[in-house]
Amino acid sequence: MNAKLAVGVLLALALMTLDHRSGHLESARAALSVVVYPIQYLVNFPVKASAWVKDSLRTRGALLNQNARLREQNLLLRTQSQKFAALRAENTRLRELLESSLEKGERVLVADLLAVELEPSAHQVVLNKGSKQGVYMGQPVVDAHGIMGQVIHVGPFSSTGLLITDVSHAPPVQVNRNGVRAIAAGTGILDQLLLSYVSVNADIRKGDLLVSSGLGGRFPGGYPVGEVTKVVTNPGESFAKVLATPSARVAEAREVLLVWPKGLPSDLAQHARFPSVAAR
């Protein structure tokens, strides 16, 4: 039994080292994800079922009300998107004049978050789309309000996303107002991001919108990441302390969008190590 324990411990240590130092175990993880997917599905089922029951027990009046509200919203959004179309045409024309590259449209796919708890200290979510739907490692995940995170493990039917608030996540961002660049590191707290290495005299104010800069090649440029909530400058230190809240509803999102940025084929984007220049 002692020998068995020794083998188990050594094997576990070897696995951990391999998993931590290099990404060679992704295929093993993908295979294991198939085994645990039924459990995750089972856990998610009551949540889904209760939502379904709630939906089917709605009264006619409530549905009519909601329908009217959605119509109104739809009208509003369509008006806005008309303006957007005109602006896009103008933008394309100007870009042609400048002979700069055209930005292609982005493909998106809606994924449901499974209501599954993972490690409390790590901010990760399980999505119900996997490599069968073309999901790839490092793929950006956004919700209706901004960037939520990126895909870190892909299984055939499900994938794991790392949220922007996780301590090991730090996308490059820039201030929408003036283009000041920074890195928005996660803090492990669900409503807080920390901008690292912002110099004391950088022009960042409370209320500034941070958008993804597109540097690093992972996230497409221009998606909202967060809003600056607090800037503390201490003249004695070389960097300012800048806090932000994520734009995405990280804690309460039920559905997210998987984005294939800028028409890059997924296998190409997977190996994209170069910074994307399209987003300036």
Binding site: M1, K4, L5, G8, V9, L11, A12, L13, A14, L15, M16, L18, D19, H20, L25, A28, R29, L32, S33, V35, V36, I39, Q40, L42, V43, V47, A115, V116, E117, L118, E119, P120, S121, A122, Q124, V126, H153, T160, V167, S168, G188
Partner: protein
């Protein structure tokens, strides 16, 4: 050749499945860090009762599945679970005859070692937990143990798992 016929394997599987479901079940945020380490508790029970069927190997495999389920480093739970299984099998003769209070003490020691091993791995991989609430599962696990023990015992007797 087996002399004893092994019975009720599906009961063991079902209890572990339930433990996995409890591990993955969404709970309010304040309760998340107080969630007992269900799979480890059930493992300790079966290691005590049927050490020839549930031991280090089973613990290791379940640990690997836990790693995949919780998105942890592969091998993290496998390490902690196999050591916990070892300790449980080693101390099973004492634990089984202990009074409830003594049992709870030993179980909390087991859980503490389980969490300590995970803490080592987390600290090594660069994401150490920030506060003392990390140790909360020891307390909650010790609290649920007497009930879990009684329940599993009843299930085992009813289904004649041997």
């Amino acid at each position: 050749m087996r002399v004893y016929q092994q019975r009720g394997g599906w009961i063991i599987i079902a209890t572990f499945l339930a433990a996995f479901v409890l591990t993955a079940m969404p709970v309010p945020e304040w309760a998340a860090s107080w969630r007992p380490t269900w799979v480890a508790l059930v493992l300790v029970y079966w290691c005590m009762e049927l050490p020839e069927r549930v031991g280090i190997g089973v613990g290791w495999t379940l640990g690997l599945l836990l790693d995949a389920l919780t998105g942890a480093l592969l091998g993290q739970h496998a390490l902690a679970m196999s050591v916990t299984a070892y300790l449980a099998v080693k101390t099973r003769c004492q634990i089984r005859v202990f009074a409830t209070v003594q049992q709870v003490l030993v179980i909390s020691l087991l859980l503490a070692s389980y969490l300590l091993m995970m803490l080592f791995v987390k600290a090594m991989s660069g994401i150490p937990p920030q506060d003392w609430v990390y140790a909360a599962p020891v307390l909650s696990g010790a609290l649920v143990w007497p009930w879990l023990f009684a329940l599993l015992k009843k299930v085992r007797r009813r289904a004649h798992v041997s």
